[in-house]
Amino acid sequence: MPTPPPDSFFDLSSALTGFTVQTLKFAQQNADFYGAFRSIYGAVEFDALMSAYADITAQGDTGADLAKSVLADGSTVAETARALMVFWYLGQIAPGGKGAMQIPTANHYAQGLAWRAVQAHPTGVSTLQFGYWASPPPPLEDFL
């Protein structure tokens, strides 16, 4: 059984993506974003990002400030953080951040946050009921 992601992974991901921890945990249930990112992008880079996140939060930064710190010019983990954001949004990742992007599983594609950000769903994968297209989608806040 894979190791459950630490809470800090969801906290950092929430700060980077703007989505709630609960939404990210639901996505993680169906597609292993944590394990796939660590194994495909690289454990060294990922652990460095988590370590930097721990240092920043120890200084008292939270939310948007934290995200800015991680992504700031000169940050050694900015590239990894951006790759993690892309992975959460699109379900795509490149090994070591280089080469062709890949989608680990169909579930990573379907759980990508981009669909929720545009208040929609992946092609063919909708949990909405018949006729939903005749009504406006719920407000964006509900998708976060």
Binding site: Q28, Q29, N30, A106, T127, Q129, G131
Partner: protein, 415 residues
């Protein structure tokens, strides 16, 4: 793998020990009863087992300890075909016996046989004569088709009949369909559907390990009917409750059905897997492959399905299975009901989520190897998800959501 991870989170607290069942009253639970806080997987799995015990408790008010097997309570419920009447007809009163089809009347000399099985699948459209939901038939190791039946409890039946939802005029005139929900405060039981999968007891089968029944088995293609002795191999329970307006989806199987993929357990006989298949039928042993066309129970030389479970039962569920099976054996060492296991429970984690009418169901996918044999897996949207599929059910008239039942999708009576 991902499901197992999520289950790991749910395993954070101990599974509550089930109550002794040798002398309790077998009441249906109205809703999930969380030990603390929001209900979790263990709470829902416990709900599933308590529902299984209540529904399979002897219909004659005896106890599990009194006999290894007996007619269960749900056997007296009404079948979907009794709801799906012809133009101008009204469904029979609750408790009415099932009509013996004309095909079977010539052999209808067995006064005690009331069960009639015509489904060799889960649908016409979604439950028809020879195929499971959106796929094909399941053929056992003796070449016999698995048969299915779908029944509803009285609150669901009354709702359909009282609101005239058995014909197109009634469906069109009625507003949003909202079956009654089980309410833990009042104890009121809500709508419940069950689906049962049966195999013909044949060579290599030990009937003492199954809940068995005798039934008229209709082959509509061959226009024939036969009296068969059948064993229960799969059992769905769908329950609507206050906490789960998206229903709670519980599914059970006989323990002898199939091995987990890649983990063959030495066993003399599986119901739907042959360890020596490749020796006996070279090239015909593709796992979980649908049978070749044409599909007809009367075809000679049917090739048995070679079925494996692709998603192992999770650890929380497995612990509960052991506990409830032990309790059943304590009640009666020969109890056939101890040979059934909960495969899983699909439940809403966030009821009322406006972005997801399935309530963020967990697990995402759930399959019974006798009812969704060919749709196992975790690939959206093709893999089996109870609530994911039933969420798409609409009425024949107006195409409005039918509150998670496909029975109202099969209504054809115009008035």
């Amino acid at each position: 793998m991902v499901v197992a991870l999520a289950v790991g989170w749910f395993a954070a607290r101990d599974v509550p020990p089930p109550q002794p069942i040798s002398d309790v009253v077998y009441d249906l639970p109205a809703d999930v009863d969380p030990v603390a806080g929001a209900p979790d997987l263990a709470d829902y799995d416990t709900f599933s087992w308590l529902s299984f015990l209540a529904l399979n408790a002897p219909a004659d008010q005896t106890k599990f300890s009194d006999a290894p097997d007996s007619e269960p309570t749900w056997a007296g419920w009404m079948e979907d075909f009794q709801i799906l009447v012809q133009d101008g007809q009204v469904p029979p009163p609750w408790g009415s016996a099932r009509n013996i089809p004309p095909l079977c009347r010539a052999i209808a000399t067995e006064a005690n046989i009331t069960r009639v099985l015509t489904h060799a699948s889960k649908t016409a459209g979604v439950v028809n004569l020879f195929e499971q939901a959106q796929s094909g038939p399941l053929i056992d190791q003796n070449g016999a088709y698995v048969r299915y039946e779908i029944l509803v409890n009285q609150p669901m039946y009354d709702y359909i009949v009282d609101n005239q939802l058995y014909n197109l005029v009634g469906l069109d005139a009625f507003g949003p369909i909202d079956f009654p929900s089980g309410n833990p405060r009042s104890g009121e039981i809500g709508a419940i559907m069950v689906k049962a999968a049966w195999k013909v007891m044949g060579l290599g089968d030990d009937p003492s390990r199954f809940h068995v029944t005798e039934a008229y088995v209709v082959d509509a293609q061959a226009q024939s009917c036969a009296i068969e002795r059948l064993g229960l191999v799969g059992f769905h329970i769908s329950t609507k409750t206050v906490s789960a307006p998206h229903w709670i989806w519980s599914t059970f199987e006989h323990v002898d059905n199939v091995p987990d993929r890649g983990t063959l357990t030495p066993r003399a006989h599986y119901n739907f897997f042959d360890p020596f298949c490749e020796v006996k039928r070279p090239g015909q042993c593709v796992e979980n492959a649908m049978p070749a066309l044409p599909w007809a129970p009367s075809n000679p030389d049917q090739v048995p399905s070679q079925v494996v479970r692709t998603t192992p039962i999770g650890p929380v569920t497995a612990v509960l299975n052991t506990k409830f099976q032990e309790l059943l054996r304590e009640a009666n060492p020969l109890s056939v009901w101890a040979n059934y296991m909960l495969v899983g429970t699909q439940f809403p984690q966030r009821p009322g989520d406006p972005t997801d009418p399935t309530g963020r169901a967990f697990p995402q996918s759930l399959a019974n190897t006798t009812l969704e044999t060919f749709m196992q897996g975790d690939t959206p949207p093709v893999s089996s998800s109870c609530v994911g599929c039933h969420n798409r059910a609409t009425t024949t008239a107006s195409a409005k959501p039918s509150d998670f039942t496909y029975i109202l999708s099969r209504v054809t009576a115009k008035y």
